[in-house]
């Protein structure tokens, strides 16, 4: 890490003020109606929180994106008007390592093989100020078993670690360095004692027991072998086909494109991208009425296989970052860890 400094907790709000005056919109965790969400921060922010309910993927990939507007006056050629994303610079404070790793995976999708200008425009204006998990993990966390770590800075611009009175701020990108440099005098030098404490906190966090996908490395092959397993339908039996697992997921990125009409006389509207969801029954519905993924089992298989097999085949890494949202929030307790383990067990 190129830049490692200390920040007195009392100065966090000053730093945020400095970042804000540097032209950034600062977002931080806020508790509203009982749930943690990233909200614009006015003055100070409390970073002592578990994790946000919804992964922060919407900074670069909002649930609704307008591509262009159109108008068709009778007798004339249809007119299109491009809508460029309004993407203010956003610095998101308090991103957890699993979600930082999620951003890396989203970047793969929208920037590796294809260039999605809407995503890229927003992404380049987004900075993630991460927060290492040094509290005991929640019963549904499993980041370690999918190649992550509670203190990973992957995908972050800065990683903060809470050492009680102070944060250690470690810049991971140029953007991160710039954000710290903007308020250079607020930061202190990381001394040896600090360094020692940091290492200890990180080591303890990594050592804390988590539940685990038994053989994540072998998962792609196992899922391939278990494609036709009867386990899928059995595991999906209680599934209700809602969209919680994918909408909360830091790496789910499927979308639908629709024309939303704003007027009929003359014909006016806009082409809109909205999140879609492989668990919805209409996701793979063909115009003919045929649906290749008609059963809940096939849909569960799609979701799990995408995370643990297809993405790996495409990008050489597991897509799942082990945040545990799909597990803790599932209304009926469908547990991706248990599913992967069970399929693997079944084909073994």
């Amino acid at each position: 890490m190129s830049m490692e400094k200390t920040l007195d907790k009392a100065l966090l709000s000053d730093w945020i003020a400095a970042v804000t005056s540097g032209g950034w919109q600062v977002h931080g965790p806020a508790l509203e109606d009982g749930i943690w969400t990233f909200k614009p921060v006015a003055a100070s922010v409390d970073l002592d929180y578990p994790n946000v309910k919804q992964a922060p993927k919407d900074f670069a990939f909002p649930q609704r994106e307008i591509f262009f507007a159109f108008e068709h006056i009778k007798g004339e050629a249809p007119r299109l008007k491009e809508v460029k994303p309004e993407a203010p610079q956003c610095a998101v404070f308090g991103v957890r390592p699993c979600d930082g790793r999620g951003a890396v995976r989203m970047d793969k999708v929208f920037s590796d093989n294809v260039n999605d200008p809407y995503y890229q425009e927003r992404r380049k204006n987004t900075a993630y100020v991460g927060l290492a998990c040094n509290a005991p993990p929640s019963p549904t966390c499993f980041c370690k078993s999918v190649g992550g770590s509670p203190v990973s800075s992957e995908g972050m611009d800065i990683l903060l670690t809470d050492l009680g009175e102070i944060y250690i701020a470690q810049a991971a990108t140029k953007t991160g360095e710039a954000l710290m440099a903007a308020a250079d005098k607020l930061f202190g030098k990381m001394g040896a004692a600090d360094k020692k404490q940091l290492d200890k906190v990180h080591a303890d966090a990594v050592a804390a027991p988590q539940r685990a996908v038994k053989d994540a490395k072998g998962a792609p092959a196992a899922l391939k072998a278990g494609f036709d397993s009867a386990v899928w339908e059995e595991m999906a039996k209680p599934c209700i086909g809602c969209g919680i697992c994918t909408f909360l997921c830091p790496t789910c990125h499927c979308f639908d494109i629709n024309d939303e009409m704003t007027g009929m006389s003359p014909l006016k509207g806009q082409r809109v991208r909205t999140w879609d969801n492989c668990q919805f029954p209409d996701f793979t519905m063909h115009t003919s009425g045929h649906n290749p993924r008609e059963t809940l089992g096939t849909r569960l298989r799609q979701r799990v296989s995408h995370k643990f097999r297809y993405f790996h085949e495409n990008f050489g890494m597991l897509q799942c970052t082990g945040c545990g949202r799909c597990v803790s929030e599932c209304p009926v307790g469908i547990d991706i860890v248990a599913v992967v383990n069970k399929v693997a067990e079944h084909v073994a």
Binding site: I66, E260, T262, Q270
Partner: protein, 142 residues
Amino acid sequence: MSEQTYEPKIVAFLCKWCSSAGSDLAGVSRIQYPANATPIQVPCSGSVSPMYILSALKKGADGVLVSGCHIGDCHYLEGNYLARRKLHLVKELLQFVGIEENRFRMSWVSAAEGAKFAEVVKEFVDDLRPMGPQEKLKAKRA
């Protein structure tokens, strides 16, 4: 929009047999009333789905009127009884979520009540005007 230029937009569902006929009678009698309500003739007030009310508000209506035959006079015998119950629920729900009570209105206007129809529309417009445009449920497509 300023108070002076604001004209409430009303979608008026009128049953064919009583209220639309009553509205016709207002016309035949040349009773003048504000032009804010655009009528949609439906067979019966009982055919007005609660979703039509929501749809109208979402499409930007400032007020929605449903008018049918008086109780006991329904051309289809019972349609207005069903409408009364269903739309009572709609009215309660709208109020519950904080939509102004006066945005949704129901009336019974018989084929003989041209003057009453004009009065219902006039009163509705008078009640809506001070409230200003309905923005709460209106779709904002930006």
